[in-house]
């Protein structure tokens, strides 16, 4: 008796989404460039022990401050370690730290933001005032004070940056939540009398995830730089671990004579940061429904 509606096309489902994505990525050469840069860096970091025969930690005073050459592509540092080796091993730390920071901040931030946006009223007020405080806080003071309190090491630097980054995600997620909670599917869920946390978890958060992911990739570039800056100010990884910012910080003092010391880790920061930014920009174009077609 009912008209049997045909489903649009059997193959449409996942395949359509994927091919669409691929199509859009292909149209975005910059994004491909970004992915390649990160991919190369990640591969270097992952396969570091097979790529270089030097030890990133072991010192060799006899080889101190060698300029770039066939045996030391990026030269050596003040205790004779191969800078190329340290840069690629450093990718593990620097990229790892940045990704952790941003993902942690992104997760915490979007949950808090979803809660603020969904509940509104005083919950929103309190959360957003706290976020105002965090936003208003001079990043550096927070990071340095935290580092000074807990000890200047990478973990604390990461903690500080995460805290600083959270408000961005809270704002983003809150904004999304504000619009999502007006969506009929949320209104509908309310009429079923499911509880608020279910709604937040099942409806609000999954639907804010796309902008959050975009923001995460965009933030990664920034974070790498921030980690490096904190490293530059002596709040980074503990020696002798290789970390780009710390390397730059030390190398910076030798910029005039041993230019390679700060330049190559600087280049690595530049590549990683641009890579993530390109990906983020690309994702924004690709995942943004408005740019569909």
């Amino acid at each position: 008796m009912d008209a049997q509606l045909e489903i649009k096309a059997e193959s449409l489902a996942g395949k359509k989404q994927k091919s669409l994505l691929w199509y859009k990525i292909k149209k975005n050469p910059m994004t491909i460039l970004g992915f390649s840069l990160i991919f190369i860096l990640a591969a270097l970091a992952l396969f570091a022990p097979w790529i270089t025969s030097y030890d990133p930690i072991k010192i060799n005073m006899a080889e101190r401050f060698q300029p770039p050459s066939a045996s030391h592509w990026f030269g050596t540092d003040e205790v004779g370690r191969d800078i190329f080796t340290r840069v690629i091993y450093g990718a593990r730390l620097s990229l790892g730290a940045s990704i952790t920071i941003v993902v942690v901040a992104g997760l915490i931030g979007s949950v808090i933001g979803a809660i603020a946006g969904y509940f509104g009223n005083w919950v929103d007020q309190i959360i957003m005032r706290i976020m105002d405080m965090l936003l208003a806080f001079p990043t550096l003071v927070l990071a340095m004070v935290l580092a000074a309190t807990l000890g200047p090491n990478l973990i604390n630097a990461m903690l500080a940056i995460s805290i600083v980054k959270i408000p961005v995600y809270v704002r983003l997620a809150r904004g999304e939540a504000l619009s999502i909670k007006k969506k009929l599917y949320v209104v509908a869920a309310k009429t079923f009398r499911v509880n608020d946390f279910y709604i937040i978890i099942r409806h609000i958060i999954p639907n804010t995830i796309t902008p959050v992911i975009i923001q995460i990739t965009l933030d990664l570039g920034d974070t790498i730089l921030l980690v490096a800056t904190l490293g530059f100010l002596g709040l980074g990884a503990r020696p002798p671990a290789p970390e780009w910012g710390t390397m730059i910080s030390t190398g910076f003092k030798h910029m005039l004579e041993q230019w390679w010391y700060a330049t190559f880790p600087g280049l690595a920061v530049f590549i990683a940061s641009s890579g993530f930014n390109l990906i983020g920009d690309g994702l924004r174009d690709i995942l943004d429904p408005k740019s569909a077609r």
Partner: protein, 318 residues
């Protein structure tokens, strides 16, 4: 006035080329209101946009011509077509809220357009702007001119949009679902306004809608579109009194208007076929209740059933 001949438009998308319009021909005369009806996705808006060269970047006119007083608009450069926009051809869109610049005063928006079309200074354009507002039934044009769009109701906004479109005193007015977002009572006002302006300025109107009621109310002639093809065209009376195309008939009987409450409504089963691979024959065949084998073989040719009443259907041929 305007004459569209065998217009075909293709969009390149990631799945491939979508043939959205297929040999659409229609024409509108001065002082005439031509209504285009058809369900969502049938190509009504694309037809309208193609006239003003406002198609998206991925569109391509693969066939046909659009003659506007002997000039083929499809052949014009973007710069030249710009001269037509607003000046000779006006356009009204569906959503009155989003069609107006949200942070610019109504008066300024109108003045900007008037300035351009009549080559006037801002000061000289102002009184003309006030007249235009009066034309669309605002009694206090000065006040209105100072307002922002969000301070007006939907009906008021739509009148502004119409004023904007009319400000260049165009010869052709294209109205793409101008009342869909409005209440029935306001809709009636707007439709009356359009009728009135047509009378006053001798404008030709291309009215796009999916509301058959609206068509009946204001249209002189009707084009029924389906899947990028014209199915049937004729005067309002011809179409409503004696529809010949199965699609037109189905459309009319799907309306609950004159059906007894105990009866079931007529449904049109199925969906528009994939426009990427348009079928060889009639596009409506898959949903047609009267279809037969010839329909799948060749696209139906135009059939004149009476004066100015054309149908594209093999069934009618026979």
């Amino acid at each position: 006035m305007i004459n569209i001949e065998e217009l075909s438009i293709t969009f390149s998308t990631f799945h491939g080329k979508v043939h959205v319009l297929d040999k659409v021909s229609l024409s509108v005369n001065r002082r005439e209101i031509l209504a285009i009806v058809g369900e969502s996705g049938s190509g009504k808006s694309v037809t309208a946009y193609s006239i003003l060269g406002l198609l998206d970047k991925n569109a391509e006119i693969s066939n046909g011509h659009i003659y506007f007083d002997e000039e083929d608009l499809t052949k014009l450069s973007p710069n030249k077509i710009q001269k037509y926009r607003g000046k000779r051809i006006g356009m009204v869109f569906q959503e009155p809220m989003s069609a107006l610049h949200p942070t610019m005063r109504i008066g300024d928006q109108l003045v900007n357009v008037i300035k351009r079309h009549r080559k006037l200074s801002k000061k000289d354009a102002y009184p003309i702007m006030l007249d235009m507002l009066k034309d669309v039934h605002f009694d206090n044009p000065e006040d209105i001119a100072k307002k922002y769009p969000h301070q007006l109701s939907g009906g008021m906004r739509q009148r502004i949009v119409i004023a904007l479109a009319m400000s260049g005193q165009p010869e052709l007015l294209i109205a793409d679902e101008p009342t869909t977002a409005l209440d029935v009572t306001i809709q009636a006002e707007i439709l009356n306004l359009i009728k009135e302006l047509v009378q006053k300025h001798n404008t030709a109107v291309l009215l796009i809608t999916h509301d058959l009621g609206v068509v009946k109310e204001v249209g002189d002639r009707v084009c029924v579109m389906y899947g990028g093809n014209i199915m049937e065209s004729g005067s309002v009376d011809q179409i409503f009194e004696s529809p010949r195309h199965p699609y037109t008939k189905a459309l009319l009987s799907a309306l609950p208007n004159h059906v007894d409450r105990s009866e079931r409504l007529q449904e049109i089963t199925g969906e528009i076929p994939d426009l990427k691979n348009r079928p060889e024959g009639c596009i409506f065949y898959s949903r047609c209740s009267e279809g037969k084998s010839t329909c799948t073989e060749k696209a139906p040719a135009c059939m004149q059933v009476s004066e100015a009443h054309h149908v594209y259907c093999w069934e009618v041929h026979s």
